[in-house]
């Protein structure tokens, strides 16, 4: 059933400053959020959520300012839920609770907010996490771009898991769960000024289920990272730097859709540097790679998983790629925003 934000009988179908005033209109909005995201902790509406997660905790936060707020395969709400869930999952944690804070630009159509909340509802339900606290602010037109969302998340780390960007070891095998660049290109394709037609969808997805499967196969997962902004290249450089190792990847092993590589050529971008929102790269003990891969391939977000390279000892901090032509190329970190070419 579609979600509807019912407000007092203003004739407006847009968010007004009064929706963030703390008064009647704010309560109307909050009630409609409650209807969508209902759970016993949230429903108490105390100043803080009281939770008892137990065990080793993982805690993270992130803000989402994607533009446009709706894009093929997702929207800012789905992104805000998946992004934070994935940050928890990347230390092996099972996500339980999320906070959800909106900063809304005056004039946002109510129907847009409803769509975003419905998407948050769907994504949290699918990932089995609960929104237990939240906030809504409305700011003057022009002081925010439609809608910003901040989410924080709490998860518990299962005993035996010791996953960190510092833990990649020489000899480890690198696994990627599917094709890269879908999110960045899907969003760019919608952006004013460079829009182009494509059937491509963002890969935005919660990866906690996939990580749980991987951990069920083996606890010898040393490092997990989601290659979001800056793409796979930047993530691999982070791992190489933090773990004091080098990384060697193979171009022919890295899955990239033809649409993504074509769009990248057209725009002067490199898929290795394009953002993903449903991808992870894992450094795992070599003897465990096959069993982890087998589990991954059975999961819907790991069907296209591939072994893309390995961790090495020499030249710590360096990432190199063997190209299809048999040559070797250094893979550096992204500097600045990738901009489309001009000539």
């Amino acid at each position: 059933m579609p979600l509807t934000i019912i407000t007092v009988k203003t004739m407006s179908d847009k968010i007004l400053l009064a929706h963030g005033s703390g008064g009647k209109l704010t309560h109307d909005v909050i009630r409609s959020f409650l209807a969508a995201l209902s759970n016993p902790v949230l429903n108490r509406l105390d100043d803080s959520a009281v939770i008892e997660p137990g065990g080793r905790l993982a805690f993270t936060t992130d803000s989402y300012v994607v533009q446009p707020i709706f894009f093929p395969g997702g929207d800012i709400g789905k992104l805000a839920v998946c992004g934070t869930i994935n940050d928890l999952a990347m230390v092996g944690a099972t996500p339980h609770y999320l906070s959800l804070a909106f900063i809304i630009e005056e004039g946002l159509p109510l129907s847009d907010l409803e769509r975003v909340v419905a998407s948050i509802k769907e994504t949290t339900a699918a990932a089995d996490v609960a929104v237990v606290t939240g906030d809504t602010k409305v700011v003057n037109r022009g002081t925010a771009d439609k809608l910003f969302i901040n989410t924080a998340g709490i998860g518990t780390v299962p005993s035996g898991a010791n996953i960190s960007g510092h833990n990649a070891r020489p000899g480890d095998v690198l696994i990627l769960n599917g094709p890269i660049g879908d999110h960045g290109i899907a969003v760019l394709s919608q952006r004013e000024g460079i829009s182009f037609a494509t059937d491509l969808k963002s890969d935005c997805a919660p990866l906690n289920g996939l990580v749980a499967e991987m951990l069920a196969a083996s606890h010898n997962i040393h490092c997990l990272r989601d290659p979001t902004r800056g793409g796979l290249a930047t993530t691999l450089n982070e791992i190489a730097g933090q773990s004091g190792v080098s990384i060697r990847i193979y171009e022919e092993k890295i899955p990239v859709r033809e649409e993504v590589s074509s769009a990248c050529e057209m725009l002067g971008l490199d898929p290795l540097y394009v953002a993903n929102e449903g991808k992870l790269v894992a450094a795992v003990a070599p003897g465990e790679a096959d069993s982890i891969m087998e589990r991954m391939k059975r999961h819907k977000y790991g069907q296209d998983a591939a072994i893309i390279g390995e961790v090495k000892e020499e030249n710590p901090g360096r990432v190199v790629m063997k190209t299809r032509l048999g040559t070797t190329r250094i893979i550096d970190m992204l500097v600045g925003e990738p901009l489309p070419r001009i000539c």
Partner: protein, 364 residues
Amino acid sequence: MKLVSEFRQPELADGLVSSIQRHVSKEARFMEFCGGHTVSIMKFGIRQLLPSTLTLTSGPGCPVCVTDNADLDKAIALASLPDVLVASFGDMVRVPGSRSSLQEAKAAGADVRVVYSTLDALSLAKENPDKSVIFLGIGFETTAPTVAASIMQAEQEGLKNYYVLSLHKLCPPIIKALLDSGEVNLQGLICPGHVSTVIGSRPWEFIARDYGIPCVVSGFEPLDILQCIDMLTRQMANGEAKVEIAYRRGVSQEGNQTAMNIMQKVFEPAPARWRGFGEVAGSGLKLRPEFGRFDAELNFDFDPGPTATPKGCLCGEVLRGVKSPGDCSLFRRTCTPANPVGPCMVSAEGTCAAYYHYGEDDVR
């Protein structure tokens, strides 16, 4: 046709590499004029595939890089005027001029917008009738026709607040200047692909005829470049010097006459300043007098101040092909993509940025 994968097939590359090896019997130096070629060559590691006797040198074909500091200072001074909006392609915003960059001017309050095409700049002019919108016209023959078209459209629509600072440059005159300088000894020229889609391959004929240097127009995929190098080595082995095209899907002998006509209607050749070369006669484009009301140089009162070049920066020498990024004492030390000293480290097509990002042991 698959846009990308068909032009990167390893088996075909192997065949071309063997052919190149068969045809190179002595030391030879080829120049890739275009920054886009430099990027492809470095990104795909093509130099690793070539015989050690064959050297590839990067040329001046990066429009952002060759823009002189005096011209950058003009753009920054214009952006700092009240009620002016400067629209620019992205890379240009980050290039340091004598004292500042457009990015820094923006942070200090100037209205600087990054656009992806001249159509975006025209839209900005329509949306901001109370501002003068100045488009920074940088680029070679590839981009100049689109800028000319924007001026014709502005005229048709009666737009009174659209201007162009024309810093456009022409490729054949600068290659002539480079060869006349006698600083580099070339046995082959990899001619620019995108520029040749517009001007065709004929404008390169003087190089083969007058200087005896084999010329081949190349595309940007690894197989395009390898095929081009193969064709150059074959000419060399046969003692020939002629102009050939290894990029037939994009380039003809005649070029794109419509684009050339639009460009020539709005612009006329003029002297232009090139970083590393100084002023070169007939190597730039300025607005014809009948389009003078769109010319930012003529319609604004601004002071770009004295020109300065950063100490130790070898961008000029790198652009002339006489130095390699590794020869520069700033390279990788004080000059990095995050903190660029010269434009060759800023632009996506800059030689220093390409060497920095894709690296090779000879410069590391």
